[in-house]
Symmetry: C2
Subunit: 167 residues, 2 copies
């Protein structure tokens, strides 16, 4: 079953990719779509082979279950990226997830990491690094600068004010 | 006019105090109230003396105008502190004034700088220093910790969402 091993290896690469490179750039987005397409092609070939070897549909399904789950997971990430680009995401955040939100705001505003870096006067590598670790340990001044560079004005208010107006 | 010089010296001390120690602690609040009271006493004595020396009310008013302005300024600060304690202030903020807002939140929650320091596991001196410089260069993680210690949950959202719901 060297084909299955080869598919497993590909899956390993995708899982690793999923961990290292979240889909937060156009490149990662295009690469992920290509990878899913080629991987689905590989699975189809594998299933044909298993069918020729006489495996039942149930056996084939159980063998490809983990792979299907992974495909769905990556497709969900692709769809999420597309939704963010359309501005279809919850824009509310707090001091715990403001870093992740800054990444979404950039994608939504249609700016690449390099374009944001230019506006901030830092290297694209710096923005890439900041985004990959969710702007961990960023100063509030830095967050303010990124929001300004993205042309986004935010308001911060006690949670109950946004909910019910009560203390 | 040595009494006027003495009053001027007192005013100098108050102005300096106003710059160094904003009214953000119970101590500063009580000290400011005491200072205003004793200073008003001084001004009354000065005015009596001027009257005995034959100055007109207009002359006396013009001599004490600057002093009156200063008294009013400090009284306004005292009233602001009292309003914050009652929770009567705009709780909305942004990444430019979040630092000042953290000070107001603490006063409103009725915590002293020492009590906040204890909850944060830092020295009262650290909190005092942070508050005096408006939490400049504080990390978003630090801001999150202070908010948590104060028991305040905030939401951050694009400004237009709080205003009109439009992008």
């Amino acid at each position: 079953m060297s084909l299955l091993r080869s598919v497993d290896k590909n899956i390993g690469a995708i899982v690793k990719k999923g961990r290292d490179d979240l889909i937060i750039t156009e490149n990662a987005y295009r690469e992920s779509k290509k990878m899913i397409a080629s991987w689905e092609e590989g699975i189809r070939k594998l299933q044909d082979r298993w069918r020729r070897e006489g495996l039942t549909q149930e056996e084939i399904d159980s063998l490809t279950l983990a792979h299907s789950h992974l495909t769905m997971k990556i497709q969900a990430e692709i769809q999420e990226y597309e939704a963010i680009k359309r501005g279809e995401f919850d824009m509310t955040c707090n001091f715990e997830n403001i870093g992740q939100q800054l990444v979404r705001f950039r994608i939504w505003k249609g700016l690449s990491q390099s374009e944001l870096a230019e506006r901030l006067g830092v290297t694209p590598q710096q923005v890439s690094k900041d985004e990959r670790n969710g702007y961990a340990r960023a100063s509030s001044e830095k967050i303010r600068q990124v929001l300004e560079a993205l042309g986004i004005e935010v308001t911060i208010q006690p949670a109950w004010q946004t909910a019910s107006g009560e203390k």
